[in-house]
Amino acid sequence: MFVRGLKRKCFDGEEDIEGTLAGIKAIPSYNLQRQSLLDMSLVKLQLCHMLVEPNLCRSVLIANTVRQIQEEMTQDGTWQMINTQSTGQASLDCLVSTDILCRSSREQAEGKHVPGYSTFNKDFEGDQAQDSLETMSTASSVQAPRNLQNNVWEMENPQENKGNFQKSLDQIFETLENKSPNSVEDLFSEVDNSYYDLDTMLTGMMSNTKMGHCDGLETFTSPTTATSSSNCKSDLNELDHIVEILVES
C-alpha cells in the first residue's frame, strides 16, 4: 500500500539514506523519503479501528517517529507554517498528539469528530485519511504544513468521497446522539463505580469540557441498556461497511 499521487522512491538498499543523519543527503531524494515516511506515519496514526482498542505501544512509537521527523525538518528549515483558517480551526490542523491515543473513539467522535487509532489497514485509501487529517486535533504546538495535505492526498474525486465519508460519519453520530438523554446523575447511578477506572471517566469529562460540549456526557450509552449498546455496535459495523465500500475492497 502506498499513498496515491506520490511516486515512491526506492527506500531500501540505499544505506546512506537510512544511515547516519549526518551522512550524505541527496537533497531532493532524502527530503522526499523523509516526507513519505512522515506521511506514512501520520496515516498509521490516523486510521481508526473502531472495534478494538489500538495498541498503545505501537502508537507511541509511531508518534515518537513523527516527532523526530518534525524536529529534524524544523532544524532543516523545511517545516512550513500553514495559514490557520480560524482560531478554532488552528488546533484541528495540527499533527497528532498521543493524548488522542488514550481516549475512546466515541469521546473523540462526539467532541471532535476524530477517529480513534487502529492497526494499519493496507486497503485504506488516502482520501479518507485526508478527512481525518483535517479534523484532527492536538495540543502539539507544531503545525502541519498545508502542502502536506495537498501533496500527499491527491485523489480522483476528493469532494465526493469526502462528502460521502463525512455524511456517513455524521449519520452515525446523529444516531448515537439521539439516544434517550441521560442526565449526568443517571449516568453515574447506573454505572458500577468500582468497575471504571477514575481516570477513564475524567479523561472523558475533560475532553468534553474542553470542547464546551456538556451534552457530550448525555449521549453516553447507558451500560444497562442492551439495545443501545447493540445499536452502537451496529453503527460501528455500519461504519466498517461504509469504509469497505469506499475503498472498494
Binding site: 500500500m1 502506498f2 527506500f11 531500501d12 538498499g13 544505506e15 537510512e18 544511515g19 547516519t20 543523519l21 523523509r34 515516511l37 506514512m40 498509521k44 473502531m50 472495534l51 478494538v52 482498542e53 495498541n55 498503545l56 505501544c57 505501537r58 507511541v60 512509537l61 508518534a63 515518537n64 517517529t65 523526530q68 521527523i69 498528539s97 498521543t98 493524548d99 491515543l101 488514550c102 475512546s104 473513539s105 466515541r106 492497526t119 494499519f120 493496507k122 492536538t138 495540543a139 502539539s140 454505572v191 468500582s194 468497575y195 471504571y196 477506572d197 481516570d199 477513564t200 479523561t203 472523558g204 453516553f220 450509552t221 451500560p223 449498546s229 452502537c232 455496535k233 460501528l236
Partner: protein, 420 residues
C-alpha cells in the same frame, strides 16, 4: 485451529500449555517413558482443553476486549492439581486443572440419574462408594482478577514466594495476592499527568526467580529497570537502570522502534537478564548497567529493510526469547518460520525452520541459512524470499531437558534432542 499466542512449560516440564487468539488454552502432557517403546521418548499429547477467556465488550468505551490469551504462567505444583494463570488484555484468571478418575456411586437420596428418590421408598441407609471411571481432566476457574488494568496487559509473573504475582500493562504494574481478587497494589505507574507527554510504555515485566522483592520491567525505549519493592510502596524510582548507549553510526528514524524491548527474561540462576529487541538478543549482567555483556544478531539482514517492515507493520512484531535449563543456550524466533539458537559458551549459533514441508517427523532438522546479497548457494534462501507472515513469536524450552516448543502461527512444533 487458532493462532497460538503463548506457549509455556510448567516447572517440571511434564505439562506444556498453549493459549490462542480465540481465548482457548490447550495443555499437553508428556507420556510416561516406557521400556517397550524407547524410541517414543515421552511425547506430548493433549491433556486438557478449555475456554479461558471470552470476548467482552466495554460499553463505556465502545470497544471490544479481545479474548486472545496474551500470557500463561504456571504455579509450582503443591498438590495433585495443577494451577496456571492465564490473561487476556484486561483480566487475569487462575485455573485449576485436576484429574478425576473415581466417581461416587450409590447415593442414599438420589438414584444413578441424579433424580431424587421417593423418601417412602428408602428403607435402608447406603453410603456412596468410590468406583473407578475413565480419566477426566477438569479445568475450573478458581479466581478472576479483573478491573485493575486500564491498558492492555502484556505480562504476568509469579513471585518466588508463591503467594503473589504481578500483572503489567502499558503504563502500570499491579501486585496481586492469589487469594484476593478485589484488590491489587499498584507498584509501578509511568502514566504522565498529561497523556500528551507520553513517550514511553512498559513492554514486559518479570519477577526475580529467587528474590521475591526484586523485579524488572522493560520499556519501548530499550531500557530495563530493576526495582526493589522494599524501598517503597510505589516503585517508580528504580534501583538499577540498564541501557546501552546508542551507536551513532547506526542511527536512523527507526532506531527507537527497533530498540523497543519486546521481551525480558531472568536467567534461571537469577544473575542475568535477557532482552529481545527487533534485531538482537542481549544478555545483561545484573551487576553492570551500562551495557549488555553479550549481544546476538538475530536477523541483521533486515536492517536495510526497515522502511518496508515499518510500512507493513512487521517492525512492531513482538518476539519472545527463552533460556534453556542451564542458561547456556538462548533461543528466539524470526520470520519465515525460522528460529535461532545461540550457545553462549561456544558462541555458535544455528537457524532452524519449523515447517511441515521442509522436515518430516523425527527427522533431524537441517540448519538453514539466509543469504545476504551476492551469490546464493543451493540451500540458502534470499532475504527477499522470506515470508514475513510466517513469524515465530513464541517459543518455550523445557526446564531441564532439551525439548523445545515452537509456535508457528497456528501450529505447535515440539522438538527434542536426537535419540541415540
Amino acid at each position: 485451529a487458532d493462532i497460538i499466542s503463548t506457549v509455556e512449560f510448567n516447572h517440571t516440564g511434564e505439562l506444556l500449555a498453549t493459549g490462542d487468539k480465540g481465548g482457548r488454552v490447550v495443555i499437553f502432557q508428556r507420556e510416561q517413558e516406557s521400556k517397550h517403546q524407547p524410541h517414543r521418548r515421552g511425547e506430548y499429547n493433549v491433556y486438557s482443553t478449555f475456554q479461558s477467556h471470552e470476548p467482552e465488550f466495554d460499553y463505556l468505551k465502545s470497544l471490544e476486549i479481545e479474548e486472545k490469551i496474551n500470557k500463561i504462567r504456571w504455579l509450582p505444583q503443591q498438590n495433585a492439581a495443577y494451577f496456571l494463570l492465564s490473561t487476556n488484555d484486561k483480566t487475569v484468571k487462575l485455573w485449576k486443572v485436576s484429574e478425576r478418575d473415581k466417581r461416587p456411586e450409590g447415593y442414599n437420596l438420589k438414584d444413578e440419574d441424579g433424580r431424587l428418590r421417593d423418601p417412602s421408598m428408602i428403607t435402608m441407609l447406603r453410603v456412596p462408594v468410590l468406583r473407578p471411571m475413565d480419566l477426566m481432566v477438569e479445568a475450573t476457574p478458581r479466581r478472576v482478577f479483573a478491573n485493575a488494568h486500564t491498558y492492555h496487559i502484556n505480562s504476568i509473573s509469579v513471585n518466588s514466594d508463591y503467594e503473589t504475582y504481578m500483572s503489567a500493562d502499558d503504563l502500570r504494574i499491579n501486585l496481586w495476592n492469589f487469594e484476593i481478587t478485589n484488590q491489587s497494589f499498584n507498584i509501578v505507574d509511568i502514566k504522565p499527568a498529561n497523556m500528551e507527554e507520553l513517550t514511553e510504555v512498559i513492554t514486559a515485566a518479570e519477577f526475580h526467580p529467587h528474590h521475591c522483592n526484586t523485579f524488572v520491567y522493560s520499556s519501548s525505549k530499550g531500557t530495563i529497570r530493576l526495582c526493589d519493592m522494599r524501598t517503597s510502596a510505589l516503585c517508580d524510582r528504580h534501583a538499577k537502570f540498564f541501557e546501552e548507549p546508542e551507536d551513532p553510526s547506526n542511527r536512523s528514524f527507526f532506531s527507537e522502534i527497533i530498540s523497543s524491548i519486546s521481551d525480558v527474561k531472568f536467567s534461571h540462576s537469577g544473575r542475568y537478564i535477557m532482552t529481545r529487541d527487533y534485531l538482537t538478543v542481549k544478555v545483561w549482567d545484573l551487576n553492570m548497567e551500562n551495557r549488555p555483556i553479550e549481544t546476538y544478531q538475530v536477523h541483521d539482514y533486515l536492517r536495510s529493510k526497515l522502511c518496508s517492515l515499518y510500512e507493513n507493520d512487521c517492525i512492531f512484531d513482538k518476539f519472545e526469547c527463552v533460556w534453556n535449563g542451564s542458561d547456556s543456550v538462548i533461543m528466539t524466533g524470526s520470520y519465515n518460520n525460522f528460529f535461532r539458537m545461540f550457545d553462549r559458551n561456544t558462541k555458535r549459533d544455528v537457524t532452524l525452520e519449523a515447517s511441515r514441508e521442509n522436515s518430516k517427523p523425527r527427522a533431524i532438522l537441517k540448519p538453514r541459512k539466509v543469504c545476504v546479497g551476492g551469490k546464493r548457494r543451493k540451500d540458502e534462501i534470499s532475504v527477499d524470499s522470506l515470508d514475513f507472515s510466517k513469524k515465530i513469536l513464541h517459543t518455550a524450552w523445557h526446564p531441564s531437558e532439551n525439548i523445545i516448543a515452537v509456535a508457528a502461527t497456528n501450529n505447535l512444533y515440539i522438538f527434542q534432542d536426537k535419540v541415540n
